[in-house]
């Protein structure tokens, strides 16, 4: 069956605590942390962006399964913070894993679910035997405007899934999507920071799409919540995914492994990839996983996944948990410096 041949993840080496951000704006740090269930968020270094994170995650995926560039025939990168408006991230990733020139590549955009749309594209191409292996990448280095609610959660990170049909470590049994025109969150061309509809991002947006997609994928697979060992959903904060999982009928034991936002913040397109990577880091053959992504604008992609015996043959020594444990705390001044929030007074 077609599915995941390998996976890679990357979380930057720095983090800032919610209380530190709140102290700059005279807000109550513990209240913000508790309300969002986000206690710290990852911070990329000054030389890290979507491209460098995508390359690191992809190289890890290649190394795990001992694949070379010649094995890859498609690369699609989903993000809402591509460094270039015109020039693909995916071609740079392809060059950095020596997969050029015999492959197809493109960048995807659908808010936080562009990466999972890339998984579906790769599945289609692998299923029709157009390619042997394709790479779907979900990564972001998103920003919230200083002082905005988003600043407490918008972070950086990403993952890469190699989709193929040989030596599959996790079968993707079913996939489905739920899509509408819902303007809950957007960023206009040329604007540095996104805008959002406040409470409108909840019930009619995140919950409506994640819940409906979750129900649809289980109907398609003929499964019930108790058939799954793990669930991972998009996680814009630490509360929404818990409420969505519980409403769908899942328990804490099923959602806690893939829930990373309390420690690393909202990695946008990287969220489901990182949560799924954390699950695959410890999953056993036969484990069943439900993954539901969400992208504003709006849509959800659902995946019904079963881990195979092949997972025992890949290198799982470097885990998401080990990356998170290495993160160093920075203060707001360093965070502002790293994220380009300082006005240097120089026109380049």
């Amino acid at each position: 069956m077609n599915g995941i041949v390998s996976y890679g993840a990357y979380v930057p080496g720095y983090k800032i605590e919610t209380g530190e951000i709140a102290s700059v704006w005279g807000a109550d740090g513990s209240a913000w942390a508790k309300n969002l269930n986000v206690y710290s968020k990852s911070v990329p270094g000054p030389d890290e962006d979507v491209i460098t994170i995508a390359v690191e995650a992809t190289r890890q995926a290649m190394k795990r399964a001992k694949l070379t560039g010649d094995d890859i025939e498609a690369i699609y990168t989903g993000s809402e913070s591509h460094p270039y408006a015109v020039k693909p991230t995916s071609t740079i990733v392809a060059e950095a894993i020596r997969a050029t020139p015999n492959l197809t590549a493109a960048d995807f955009e659908f808010a936080c679910k562009a990466g999972t749309a890339a998984i579906q594209t790769c599945l289609g191409m692998v299923g029709h035997k157009q390619i042997k292996n394709g790479i779907a990448i979900g990564v972001d280095t998103s920003q919230g405007a200083p002082g905005d609610a988003l600043e407490y959660s918008a972070s950086a990170g990403g993952g890469a899934l190699i989709i193929g049909r040989e030596k599959v470590i996790a079968n993707i049994n079913h996939t489905t999507s739920y899509t509408t025109d819902t303007p809950d969150f957007w960023r206009r061309e040329g604007q540095k920071y996104p805008r959002h509809g406040g409470r409108f991002t909840g019930k009619p947006a995140f919950f409506k799409h994640v819940m409906n997609c979750g129900v649809l994928i289980m109907e398609k697979a003929g499964t019930k919540p108790e058939d799954y060992d793990y669930i991972v959903t998009h996680q814009p904060n630490g509360k929404f995914p818990i409420r969505a999982a519980k409403s769908l009928g899942f328990t804490q034991e099923q959602f806690e492994t893939g829930l990373l936002t309390p420690k690393i913040g909202n990695t946008y397109s990287g969220a489901v990839f990182l949560g799924l990577s954390a699950i695959l880091d410890i999953a056993k053959p036969g484990d069943r996983i439900l993954a539901v992504a969400y992208g504003s604008g709006a849509g959800s992609d659902g995946f019904d996944i079963t881990v195979t015996d092949e997972i025992m043959d890949i290198d799982r020594s470097e885990t998401v948990e080990s990356m998170i444990s290495r993160m160093e705390i920075v203060n707001y001044a360093t965070y502002a410096k790293f994220r380009g929030k300082l006005n240097m007074g120089v026109t380049k």
Binding site: G45, D49, I51, T52, A96
Partner: protein
């Protein structure tokens, strides 16, 4: 740097591609078309080689007056690294406290942004290095009595 000049060296910068001389069995970085030890005898015996990206710091320094484009790093560490295969190169050591970096420490390569040609220009990516193990920061006594006036 012109766009074609950087583009010509993508493989070297992204993937640490150098050369291996089958005659002298020596590795070279960056790429060479012949081995300087044996000159024209090595023509035709050179092949591309991708370095593993691991090595050891030979010497290092902390840069406090950052170069243009590196202001946001300051202070940062620059080091001469001896790759496991032999060749030496100069690189920034990132994701660490610069003063903790010392000769003899083991490093591994990472993919990072090297710079950019202005705000609207091309972005340059390539290889930098991180420490394989993060050392503990020793508290230094920086009281006035230790400062020579």
């Amino acid at each position: 740097m012109s766009v074609p000049r950087f583009w010509r060296e993508l493989d070297t910068r992204y993937n640490l591609i150098g050369s291996y001389c089958k005659l002298t069995k020596k590795y070279h970085f960056p790429k060479r078309s012949f081995d300087p030890d044996v000159g024209r005898e090595s023509i035709g015996t050179m092949e591309d080689y991708q370095f593993k990206g691991t090595g050891e710091i030979i010497n290092c320094t902390v840069v406090h007056q950052a170069q243009t484009g590196y202001e946001m790093f300051g202070p940062y560490c620059m080091a001469i690294i001896k790759l496991d295969e032999g060749p030496k190169l100069t690189s920034q050591i990132v994701d660490c406290e610069p003063k903790t970096v010392k000769p003899g420490m083991k490093v591994k390569s990472v993919f990072r942004k090297l710079g950019e040609d202005s705000e609207s220009g091309i972005l340059h990516y390539g290889t930098k290095f991180i420490l394989k193990e993060i050392p503990q920061i020793e508290d230094e006594d920086e009281s006035l009595s230790n400062i020579e006036l």
